[in-house]
Every structure is written in C-alpha cells, then in structure tokens.
C-alpha cells in the first residue's frame, strides 16, 4: 500500500521535464515493447483459438484435416457431449459451479468476518490467533488432501459434496487479505456510530463492515474460486461417484477412456472449450479486482 504520498510537482515543471506520460512524447509509440507484449498475448491466446477450431471438427476431421482449418461440427459435438452418459457433462458443470461458487462464497464470508474481527477488536490472544492462522499460508495446501481424505474417511463422509466443499472453506491467505482490507477500509467512526445507535455487533458487521470491505471480499472470492476450481487432487481423492465430479475430474476420466475410444477425444476437446467460456467471462467481467499486491495485500480497485 502506498501510504507515502509524494506531492506531484507543479504543472509548469512537469511540462519542462517532459513527463513521458503526457505531452508530445506520448505520440511516439514504443514499438519494441508493444511487439514483445503482443507476442506474449498471442502465445497465451493461441491454445484457446486452437481449441475453438478443434471443437468445430468431427472426430475424423480432428485427426485427419489440417489442424488450423475450422469445420462445421461444433453444434453436433455439443449435442454429442450433452448426450454423453445422459448429459453428465452438464452435471459436472453444475457441480463445479457449486464447489467453486458456494465454496468461494463461504470462504470469502468466513475470511471477511475473521479478518474484520482481527482488525477491529482488541482482545486477549488476538495476535497469537492471527499468527497461528497466518502460519497456515505456509502449509502446502495440496499435501493436505490425503490426510483430509483419511480423516473424512474415518467420519464416513467421503464421496459426498461436503467432502469437497468443507476443506475448501478455510483460507489463511483470504483471512490475511481481509484483515488488511478491513483495517484500511472500515472506518472506526462508523462502527462507533452504529454502536451508539444500539446496533448489534453482528449487524454492524453486516451493514457497516461488509459494504466497506466489498471490493476486497470480491478479490478473496476470486482467489478462492480459482483455487478450488484448480484443486484437482482433492475431488480426485474424495469422490468415486462420477455424478458428483467437478469438470476437471470428469474430463480427466473421459480422456483416460479416450485411449480406447478416439471419439471421446472430440468430446473432450468440446468439453474443454465449454469449460473455458464461463470462466473467461467471469474473469473478464471482474477483471478490475485482480490488481493484487501480494506483499502488502493491498487491492487497488
């Protein structure tokens, strides 16, 4: 967070100094940097463009036509994918939305409440609790999946929605971000005023803290959304019923069977395309929340 404000020099000195961000220099584009960045952008977009083309081909075309020439079978492929095992693909899509969406929502809520409490209340044990929670950031998340499985197996709730949802809710990094955000964005005077008006503490959190922290909470939500949706090992270990799979595990099992049934490759390619679209849409629409300063945790919205 840049709390240090360096005063801007007066306008006249600016013109004399020829700040390259303003004035005539602006009209001369930096060709080299522009090209390098565009090459990078091309590299990142190319696989997405390829999958769009590949998803438009029939199985025969996928293996035998020129790799970059599109065809007309996209809707046919989507139809085939939709009827694969009774439309299980869409179930996976819904499951993914549930795991990542609900999981990230609960996680952002919990992180928000915890971060706000740690930032705005003075109580015994505050820094101890914060430090213990923060140490969780350093615990390698994925290595937890197997122990979590063993524990949930003891309780007998593996292979359920809860077995994937529950371990995804606690996020030490989310708590850390929320605490910083609450400290900066929730004015003490508002809390005091609400208290004087006789509002309950929970109500103060809901109607004063949450609205002020909202941009930060959206960032925590997005982080956790990507983390849950990216975590392959946890659902892979926990679930055996394919009707509870998220998209990642579902598509992986489809690819595994593709060894013997090449027609499945076409469906996997189509499935990959359809999986990317909603994510990219979500990403682009919430783009401004992604200005992340990992060091201070500040979010410049």
């Amino acid at each position: 967070m840049s709390t240090v404000r360096v005063p801007a020099p007066p306008a006249t000195s600016r013109r004399i100094l020829r700040d390259p961000e303003a004035g005539p220099a602006r009209s001369r584009p930096a060709v080299g940097p522009t090209i390098v960045l565009l090459v990078g952008a091309l590299y990142c977009l190319f696989p997405v463009a390829w999958v769009l083309i590949a998803a438009s081909k029939s199985t025969a075309q996928l293996f035998h036509s020129f790799t970059l020439s599109p065809s007309t079978s996209l809707f046919g492929n989507i139809g085939d994918l939709s009827s694969y095992e009774g439309g299980i693909y869409w179930r996976w899509m819904a499951n993914t939305a549930l795991y990542a969406g609900v999981g990230a929502l609960l996680s952002a809520g919990l992180s928000g409440l915890t971060g706000y409490t740690l930032a705005k209340y003075r109580f015994r044990g505050r820094s101890t609790i914060f430090n213990i929670l923060l140490a969780g950031v350093l615990v390698p998340g994925i290595t937890l999946a197997i122990p979590q499985y063993l524990l949930l197996a003891k309780v007998g709730i593996t292979d359920s929605y809860l077995s994937v949802l529950l371990p995804s809710i606690i996020s030490p990094y989310g708590i850390y971000l929320s605490r910083i955000y609450a400290a900066a964005a929730v004015p003490d005077s508002l809390i005091e005023a609400a208290r004087t008006d006789g509002a309950s503490e929970l109500r103060i959190f809901g109607s004063v803290a949450v609205p002020s922290m909202l941009p930060g909470l959206v960032t925590v939500f997005l982080f956790q959304f990507v983390a849950i949706w990216n975590n392959f090992l946890l659902p892979f270990i926990m679930l055996s019923d394919d009707r509870k799979f998220p998209l990642t595990v579902g598509l992986y099992t489809m690819l595994n069977q593709g060894n013997t049934t090449p027609a499945l490759y076409t469906l996997v390619v189509t499935g990959v395309l359809l999986a990317i679209i909603p994510l990219v849409a979500l990403f682009l629409s919430l783009q401004r929340y992604w200005r992340i300063d990992l060091f201070s945790g500040a979010v410049k919205g």
């Binding site: 967070m1 240090v4 700040d19 390259p20 001369r28 584009p29 930096a30 940097p33 522009t34 960045l37 990078g40 091309l42 990142c44 696989p47 997405v48 790799t67 970059l68 992180s111 409440l113 915890t114 209340y121 109580f123 350093l138 615990v139 390698p140 994925i142 290595t143 937890l144 197997i146 122990p147 063993l150 524990l151 529950l166 809710i169 606690i170 005091e192 208290r195 004087t196 006789g198 503490e201 990507v226 949706w229 990216n230 392959f232 090992l233 270990i237 990642t248 992986y252 690819l255 490759y265 994510l279 990403f283 682009l284 783009q287 992604w290 200005r291 992340i292 300063d293 990992l294 060091f295």
Partner: protein, 312 residues
C-alpha cells in the same frame, strides 16, 4: 437522551464487547482445526505407525497398528524412487521457475513503459490462462502436443524438423514446464506490475533528467524497488512446483513417458491409494511438507533481509 440511560445499558454498548470477538472467530478456528491442524496431526500420527500382521494375518486381531517410531521416515528417505521423482521435479522446476519469473518480469516492465501500445489488451490476454485450471490447461496442451492433431508438429514439419516427439521422456520436461508457464506467467506478471504501479512516478523523473535510458531505469531503479514482489512470486512458484501433480497426471493417458510416480506427490498418491500403504504415504507427505516449509521460510528470510536490511 437522559444520563441515567447512558450510564446504564447504553454505556456498556459503546465500548467494544469482550466476548463478541471470540464468538466471531469461532467458525474460523473450528475450520482451521478440523481441516488443517487435525489432518496434519493425524498424518504425523500415522507416519509413526505401521500395520503389523501376526501369523498368517487371518482372524480378528491378527492385523493391528503398532508404533514403529521413525521407521517409515527411514524407509521413505531410502526409497530411491522418491529421490528420482524429486530429481525430476528439480529439473522441471529448474526449467520452469526462472523462465516464468523472467518472462513475467519482462512483461511487467514493458507494461510499465508509458509509450507501449495495446497495453490493456496484452495484459488481459497474458493473464487470461490463469483462469484455466491446470487439468484443463494440460488437456489443451496435451492435444497440441499429440502428433496426429498438433499444429506445433505441423509447423515443425514445414520448417523441416521431422519426427519430434513432444511427449518423449526428455521433451516431456519442456512440455510440462510450458503448460505451467502458460498458466502462471500472467499471474506473476500482474503481481509485479501492481508493485511497479505503486512506485511514485516522480522517482524516475530525476533519473530521466540525468539522461538515463528506460532500460537503465528498469535495471537500476525498478527491479531493485520491486524485489519483495519478485521474492514473493518466487516463493509461490517454488511451492507450487514442489507440489506438481495435476499436469503430469493429466498427460499420462497421452504418453508412456510419465510413470505413476513421476513427481513426489504422485508417488505419495500411489503409496496411499494404489499400494494401500497410508503409513509410508503419511511419512513421505511430512517429508515433502517439511521441505516445502524450509523453502518458504528460507525465501521469507531472504525477503526480510532484502526488504528491511537496506533500511538500517
């Protein structure tokens, strides 16, 4: 408002209540204990035990868990396959982490050059793959590597390079690193770029007056200023690399170059689920988590030394 009311119930309400914060923290503490502390504790417990089979292993009581001390750790550390998998991950990480951070830094610095065009487009495009989970990215690239459908193969054929197997036992390191690079470079770029944007522009002005070129400013001023962000991205990338699992697991159906124990985490998975040996898996998990912790602490110490040492 009468003073009597203020002195009564209201006055207590004015100050922050003492029990509320504990109540607010309870859900987080419960989740933290249940899904972080307890699993870690249980793994440590399992790692010190082993199933003991007496006689033919038949009948009740013939199989029971016994305490074996550090035997599982000794076995894990003497398992040559664990070291081979660690070696493979080191090669993979050695390719990936420096390339990814260098490219991310280059892109971030170029985004920070004021006269660069289409900055917004490039930034979004490069960041976009971060939204694609590793499994989907691996499927995507897996098809791009597959000889029968690959446009990469097609280009190589056109320029006269024949019979390149992008999924052979040597090229697989590059192919896997490329998938992770594709997914991660944008995220690291954004972190570094955010750090660069936080630097007051005026700092560069005196350097420009002195006639420093943009390259000199980047090397002498910008990079040192964002060192904390560089180290942080280094820590996160290294931790992610040590735990690599999704990419090689997803590519396995497409190639014979990847064994079931290609990375340490894949080996732990095999021990736990294919060989049903949760005790070894637990011990190896603790070893892997320990190494990861040493790495992160090491980096963080470095971070503190670099970030705060200069100020003294």
């Amino acid at each position: 408002m009468s003073s009597a009311v203020t002195a009564g119930g209201r006055a207590r309400r004015r100050t922050a209540p003492t029990r509320v914060p504990y109540a607010f923290l309870t859900p987080a503490v419960i989740f933290f204990v249940l899904f972080l502390l307890l699993p870690i504790g249980y793994t440590v417990y399992l790692s010190l035990r082993r199933e003991h089979v007496s006689g033919l292993g038949l009948g009740a009581g013939a199989r029971k868990e016994i305490f074996v001390g550090l035997a599982n750790y000794r076995a894990a550390l003497h398992d040559s396959e664990l070291w081979r998998s660690a070696g493979r991950v080191l090669v993979y990480g050695g390719l990936l982490v420096p390339t990814m951070l260098a490219l991310a830094l280059l892109f971030a610095l170029l985004l920070d050059v004021p006269r660069t065009r289409w900055r917004r487009f490039s930034r979004v495009a490069i960041f976009l793959p971060y939204a694609v989970p590793a499994v989907i990215a691996s499927l995507l690239w897996g098809f791009l590597y597959l000889p029968s459908v690959s446009p990469i193969q097609w280009v190589l054929e056109k320029v006269g390079v024949h019979d390149v197997d992008l999924l052979s036992s040597t090229t697989i390191y590059f192919s896997l690193a490329n998938i992770a690079l594709w997914g991660g470079v944008g995220f690291n770029m954004i972190v570094m770029y955010t750090a660069l944007r936080a630097v007051p522009r005026e700092i560069y002005e005196s350097a420009r007056i002195d006639g420093a070129s943009e390259v000199q400013i980047a090397l002498r001023i910008k990079i040192p200023l964002i060192t904390p962000a560089l180290i942080m991205t280094g820590v996160f990338s290294t931790i992610a690399t040590l735990q690599v699992f999704s990419e090689p697991t997803t590519l396995r159906p497409l190639t014979n170059s990847l064994s079931t124990t290609w990375t340490p985490l894949m080996k732990i998975y095999q021990d736990a689920f294919a060989r049903d040996d949760i005790y070894s898996a637990a011990a190896t998990s603790i070893v892997l988590a320990g190494i990861t912790l040493v790495f992160s602490f090491g980096f963080l110490r470095l971070l503190q030394a670099r970030a705060f040492g200069q100020e003294r």
